[in-house]
Symmetry: C2
Subunit: 154 residues, 2 copies
């Protein structure tokens, strides 16, 4: 269930670009340094993001990357779905990667997994980069202790 490093790196860099939205392009070298991402690896990630239309590039000296659309137009859902694929726990509750369920037992989970998936999808797809950016970090301790009370450790 964990998100991949690619998604993680992509988000880090996107935030730097959000912060810098409207200004001059930032070279990969700097994006990599500031976010502690391996530079050569980041090259590939940037190309993917460019193909997705989230960022655009300028070549040559003084070149680099900038956001291609406003931060309100990029959702967390898009990014995660691109780098980590389909979010649904099992195929038969996925819309994108739908696979009919032959096995009866599998289908018993539809309701449960569908709930999980729908909630995740709704949240992820409604949350834009600017919304996340504007948000304050949650206090770690508060959240953890709350969960321990519930006993619902994951």
């Amino acid at each position: 269930m964990k998100i991949s490093m690619k998604t993680d790196y992509a988000f880090r860099v996107l935030f730097t670009l959000v912060e810098h939205y409207g200004k001059e392009p930032i070279p990969i070298r700097e994006l990599a340094q500031r976010n502690d991402v391996p530079k050569r690896f980041l090259e590939h990630i940037m190309l993917e993001m460019k193909a997705k239309g989230w960022v655009c590039s300028e070549m040559g000296k003084q070149g680099g990357y900038r956001l291609a659309k406003s931060p309100e137009q990029i959702t967390a859902g898009e990014v995660i779905r691109h780098f980590d694929g389909v979010l649904a726990p099992i195929g038969c509750v996925s819309v994108f990667g739908y696979e009919p369920c032959d096995k009866e037992p599998k289908c018993r989970f539809r309701r449960l997994f569908l709930d999980v998936r729908n909630h995740a999808a709704r949240l992820m797809d409604r949350t834009t980069l600017s919304a996340i950016f504007a948000e304050k970090s949650v206090e770690t301790d508060e959240v953890l202790s709350m969960e321990f009370v519930n006993g619902a450790g994951i």
Copy 2:
């Protein structure tokens, strides 16, 4: 985000055992056949489930597996968490596998991922085998079309 084959297989077999709860033990051979699971692979899965206390075994001829507790006492959450590990999308929102976040950008996601994780955890941990078993399969078409309208394909 997909669940592993192990989890899938485990659930299939658990349901067969739920159906047969209170009767004579079922040999792996039959569990494998009925649920279309590779027999030799299932052996390992059954051992893990036995170690978890979900099933118990009887050796020798006429032996096999049966449920070790009542279907109300086994939750979907336990099973998934055992076979697929921590459910949290990122470390810093996990209670079990907590890892402090050094990177600022990562923390921006706390609220979003925490919501997703908490909802998933609550659902999974509250849903017992008997609850899933009692439930009717949802109509496939209904659900899919609903989702297409929302445009929230995952």
